[in-house]
């Protein structure tokens, strides 16, 4: 177990470096110049621009820039400075991240509760009316693109019924985020429901289920412990990879409901060629992704003792 964790942590290093390097190179190969953009249409004399470029370290070769960036990030937790307004990237992200985190957490809770709930109903009544209705519902949700769902919800609940505000306030309260969270988590909810349903319907016929019933265990225990525990592995795998995806996917939801989270920061830094901000953001998302996937793998052993780590 300890060896396994150590090996996984070591494997994370090249992936972490590779991903940050890839996004770094991608952002730096974008056309356009952030320093020129800073001066707008008027422009500035070449000496000023050169000085500014030197100050920001943009005159060095790209590999040096990457190494310096990584050094500052790893040693000083310094993610660089936004070129446009001189604010440290950590500060910009510090303002935006909590809001996205709040939104993602709410979406995750919705997908967990309703996704698994619908999945259990479908799985236990496989092939019957309720199952078919859940199947149709999830297929529909999967087919409707996130932004279309967002606009439908906005149109119906904000414009026609007036139950929610069309735009979320700058520092949103939890209840304001419910509608956006449904939009953000809807797709995952459908997948969670389907995975749970498939996995449960399959395991219902497993030998250990027959044994558990034959032993005379109460139905509650058979389903709650024996069936659930064995059916949750694919679901948990999906939920794990989804945490990162929810935060990355918040771009669309945030733009629909005017939420001031990382989505706006991402869109803005892409159009302004703010490489440092983007790389910082992606780095955080990659760390979240790597850590959750490790945790998920470790969770397997808890759910299924047959799984051992070499």
């Amino acid at each position: 177990m300890g060896r396994y964790v150590a090996r996984r942590l070591l494997q994370m290093i090249p992936v972490f470096l590779g991903t940050t390097l890839l996004i770094f190179l991608m952002v730096h190969s974008l056309p356009g110049d952030p320093v020129l953009a800073m001066f707008g249409d008027k422009g500035a004399d070449p000496a000023t621009i050169a000085a500014k470029r030197h100050e920001l370290g943009l005159d060095k070769p790209e590999w040096q820039q990457y190494l310096l960036y990584m050094r500052d990030m790893l040693l000083h937790a310094d993610f660089g400075t936004q070129i446009r307004n001189g604010l440290p990237v950590t500060e910009v992200l510090g303002d935006a991240f909590p809001i996205t985190l709040q939104l993602a957490a709410l979406a995750f809770a919705i997908e967990l509760i309703f996704g698994i709930g619908l999945g259990i109903i479908g799985g236990l009544r496989a092939g019957r009316m309720a199952d078919n209705m859940i199947l149709v519902f999830t297929l529909l949700i999967i087919s409707i693109p996130v932004f279309v769902l967002g606009f439908i919800i906005k149109m119906v609940f904000a414009f026609n019924l007036g139950w929610i505000k069309p735009n979320v306030s700058p520092v949103p309260a939890w209840d304001e985020l419910i509608a956006p969270a449904i939009v953000l988590g809807g797709l995952s909810l459908a997948y969670v429901a389907r995975l749970t349903r498939t996995s449960m319907a399959e395991n219902l016929r497993a030998d250990y289920m027959r044994t558990a019933v034959a032993k005379g265990l109460p139905r509650r225990r058979v389903i709650g412990v024996h069936l659930m525990r064995n059916s949750m592995i694919p679901v948990i795998t999906f939920l794990g990879t989804d945490i990162g995806a929810l935060m990355g996917g918040a771009i669309v939801t945030e733009s629909i409901f005017n939420i001031k989270g990382v989505g706006g920061v991402i869109a803005e830094s892409i159009s302004r060629r703010e490489g440092a901000t983007l790389v910082g953001l992606v780095t955080i998302l990659v760390i979240v992704y790597l850590v959750t996937s490790l945790l998920i793998d470790l969770l397997y052993a808890v759910l299924d003792p047959r799984i051992r780590y070499a």
Partner: protein, 317 residues
């Protein structure tokens, strides 16, 4: 696009698919059918398969010959038909049918002509991703060891970048964003999913007896890979690819909505949806119809994938 990353679920489901140890070419016995023959017999009776393949055939027909369905131009507008002239539902097939957009262009004509962009993006990205990811996954899974370790880390690196975010950065690098640029951006980040599925599938298949038998008989690596491994490892890949195709179509629309996908002169559903957003309160039909078409198309491909999955994996029933 989140839609596509979400197909990770499909990956899990497909990977969970046990190796279907079908007897390879089984022409000797009269009754024995191959895995694919069985699946085909199954598919023909599946209503989901029938509905989705009819829908997809119609969509392909529309994208190949849009002029069969409407004679109105998607780009010429007449301001006499201001977008406030709402749809006239009685006149099916005429340019008036679904109303007009802000510039007096027929929403119906744009709907028909916009089909091509979505279908091209979906089909091309899926084709590239399947070939590229399939080869990577096959090499990784079959040879194992160091090759696998390196390829898997490369896959992880690309997988770690959030799909939508990565595609946005790639697209930003192009001034003129044609359909092919969008195809490139989506394929650049999309192949990892197929690689993972293929790798898992090949690892299960390569332990099968017929592979050992072929090796013992002295078959070469290429022959084993293409004659024995590939046909038996393809099933989960095809399922994931079909479902992902819908996801790519929706990804294209999402990027266009964000202003980073296809742009104005190109006629596409995504372009129309993003234009319709501004008038959502005055003229919701401009936004609604392309959204409905988009959702139906995605639904058709997802249903097809589901049907194929059920046919290939009888255990799920």
């Amino acid at each position: 696009m989140p839609d596509v990353t979400k197909t990770a679920a499909a990956v899990e489901e497909a990977v969970a698919t046990p190796s279907v140890d079908a007897p390879a070419p089984a022409a000797q016995q009269e009754k024995a059918r191959s895995l694919w023959g069985d699946a085909w017999a199954d598919l023909r009776r599946n209503p989901y398969f029938i509905v989705s393949s009819v829908l997809i055939s119609v969509l392909l027909l529309i994208s190949a010959w849009p002029t069969l369905f409407t004679s109105a131009s998607p780009t010429v507008g007449d301001l006499v038909h201001h977008f406030l002239s709402k749809p006239e539902l009685g006149s099916i097939g005429s340019p008036d049918w679904l109303g007009y957009d802000q510039q007096g262009r027929s929403v119906y004509a744009r709907l028909i002509h916009g089909t091509r962009a979505s279908i091209i993006v979906g089909v091309c990205v899926t084709a590239i991703v399947t070939v590229l990811g399939g080869i990577m996954g096959m090499i990784s899974g079959y040879f194992g060891g160091k090759i696998d370790a390196v390829l898997s880390r490369v896959t992880d690196i690309f997988f770690g970048i959030p799909f939508l975010l990565g595609a946005m950065v790639v697209l930003q690098a192009f001034v003129e964003r044609t359909v092919w640029v969008v195809v490139f951006a989506l394929a650049f980040l999309g192949w990892t999913q197929i690689t993972r599925v293929m790798r898992g599938s090949v690892i299960t298949v390569k332990q099968a007896d017929y592979v050992h038998a072929a090796k013992a008989l002295g078959a070469g690596t290429t022959r084993i890979l293409f004659r024995h491994i590939l046909p038996n490892a393809m099933a989960p890949v095809i399922v994931v690819a079909t479902i992902a195709l819908g996801g790519y179509i929706s990804a294209e629309a999402t990027l266009s909505y964000l202003g980073l996908g296809l742009a104005a002169p190109t006629v596409s559903w995504g372009v129309d949806i993003s234009a319709g957003v501004a008038q959502i309160r005055v003229a919701p039909h401009v936004l609604l119809w392309p959204s409905i078409m988009l959702s139906i198309t995605v639904l058709a491909f997802i249903m097809l994938g589901e049907a194929v999955r059920n046919a290939l994996d009888p255990k799920l029933r």
